[in-house]
Symmetry: C2
Subunit: 305 residues, 2 copies
């Protein structure tokens, strides 16, 4: 009897089906439609949320994304919820350091001077010895901190509970956002969207950053006050910012945010889900599920992450 | 009696003098002009080479640069020669990964689409799992390999003697440049300029790289065949290249190399000498020198590095 429903977007469904069948799942395990026999579902949080009412006996849902807002915004919580981790940390770290180095190495200015045939020997800056603040110290934030250490940086973490990351030099709580921001050269937001994190990266935190600081948000758009960021960019307190996530996605073509100076908008691409990577946390948990053991990567409906 | 001559470029002389005086050296130690009392000199390799004939009793010369070609191209070798290490590795690593991520994260394309107000959700590539070849495994190459490991990459090293770097997965010698190049996604040149390294990064090595590979040279311009690189860029075998060092520096405005597609020219800025960092290896060696102990960071006139 089939018991697993794959709840992916239509464009992804076949890719995941093929990968899972070649990873040892049987065609008989997989349902064509969700029903009262569905014990497990794996898919995008939006599709799972849409399908929940058709799976009354669901025991476990595994999200192919890190963010699971659609599943937190519906009332039902009588199933185990897990999400995709250990996959996005490396991708987010690449994104963060790609943009920090874009600024520090003056890459755009050198590229423009090259068009003029100009030998531009202006010296670049360096990450080494700078202080980076990471708002959100889960598996993604920890990975960013690890790479920051390989570049010789000083690291701070803003977190409610995760104070055991060995790559973070000093921890702060959201009770002290200004203390966290004071003295930072770089601020990286990797916060989930919860009732506790709305606009946690606010005007007071941004104003506390070092002059010339760089801000990157790869968490959720809801966690950063876009208007406050624009003010700090326009008054030259900040050197630059990168928003991969926004309060409105996709950002409309006419939105003035596109034109804010020194603001890069990267259209929610910092952590693409590569199916060949995303299936691994699911398969690891499926093994545990079949053995009746506790699952990894659990999301608390109460904590919302 | 004074015994130390500072042989810096005029623009740097005062900065280094001030730093050394505030680091414990006495004004009496430092000579205004080089003479038969000069036991030690510290400065740029070009200025030291120009001054050698006035320092007949020189025991030790310390170069403020990593590359020491001017001191190898003159006949005298009856003094100890040391150079600046452990300072440039972090800077070069930042440069290398800044440009690799510029390509992988499609940063320029996203920036251009932003000007059009276009939500560009094309997915980026990743460094993770890719193979990077590092030609030259000294203190700089080792540092690049260390950061590559923090990004989850597979590493190869091309070296004559330095096969003890724990961040390199596999070593190759210059007897097998094509074997080294075969299967590389990224090639980074950090070779010194010696009689053994001229055009070591040649057409055969470049042709062996994976289709779509990226080449970065931060060693010396003499070590890479620029014409062969241009061919591999123009026939789209390579995705891109970055030359921080060139056979002719500064590159003349009219040189056609400026206009080669997907070639970035960065005007020998990848590893700026920050005097506050550069004095440390010198001071460490000076302490050893005064105690009559063996010096660190020795350059062999025979091996030329």
């Amino acid at each position: 009897m089939s018991w697993l429903y794959l709840a992916f977007e239509p464009t992804e469904q076949q890719t995941y089906l093929d990968l899972l069948l070649s990873s040892g799942l049987q065609a008989d395990d997989i349902q064509r439609t969700p029903d009262h026999n569905t014990k497990v579902t794996f898919g995008s949080p939006r599709k799972i949320a849409e399908t929940l009412k058709e799976m009354p006996n669901l025991a476990w849902a595994h999200s192919s994304w890190a963010g699971v807002e659609p599943l937190l915004q519906q009332p039902r919580d009588n199933f185990e919820l897990t999400n995709t981790r250990d996959v996005f940390g490396p991708l987010i770290a690449e994104f963060v350091f790609g943009y920090l180095l874009l600024f520090e190495k003056n890459i755009l200015a050198k590229y423009e001077n090259q068009q003029l045939g100009k030998w531009d020997d202006q010296l670049p800056g360096t990450l080494r010895g700078k202080t980076i603040g990471i708002a959100g110290v889960g598996s993604i934030g920890s990975h960013v901190a690890m790479v920051a250490k390989s570049f010789g940086m000083i690291t701070r973490g803003l977190t409610r509970n995760s104070t055991d990351c060995r790559f973070i030099d000093r921890f702060y709580t959201s009770a002290n956002p200004v203390g966290f921001g004071t003295g930072l050269d770089y601020l990286v937001g990797v916060l989930p969207n919860t009732t506790y994190t709305r606009d946690l990266i606010n005007g007071a935190m941004l104003a506390a950053l070092n002059t010339g600081a760089i801000v990157i948000n790869v968490g959720r758009g809801a966690t950063l006050d876009e208007r406050a960021l624009e003010i700090e960019l326009r008054n030259d307190h900040l050197r630059g910012a990168v928003l991969d996530v926004l309060k409105t996605e996709p950002l409309p073509t006419q939105d003035p945010l596109w034109q804010v100076p020194n603001l890069f908008i990267t259209s929610h691409t910092s952590a693409p889900s590569f199916p060949a990577q995303v299936i691994h946390p699911f398969l690891k948990n499926l093994h545990l599920f079949k053995q009746g053991q506790p699952l990894l990567y659990k999301v608390s409906f109460k904590q919302q992450y």
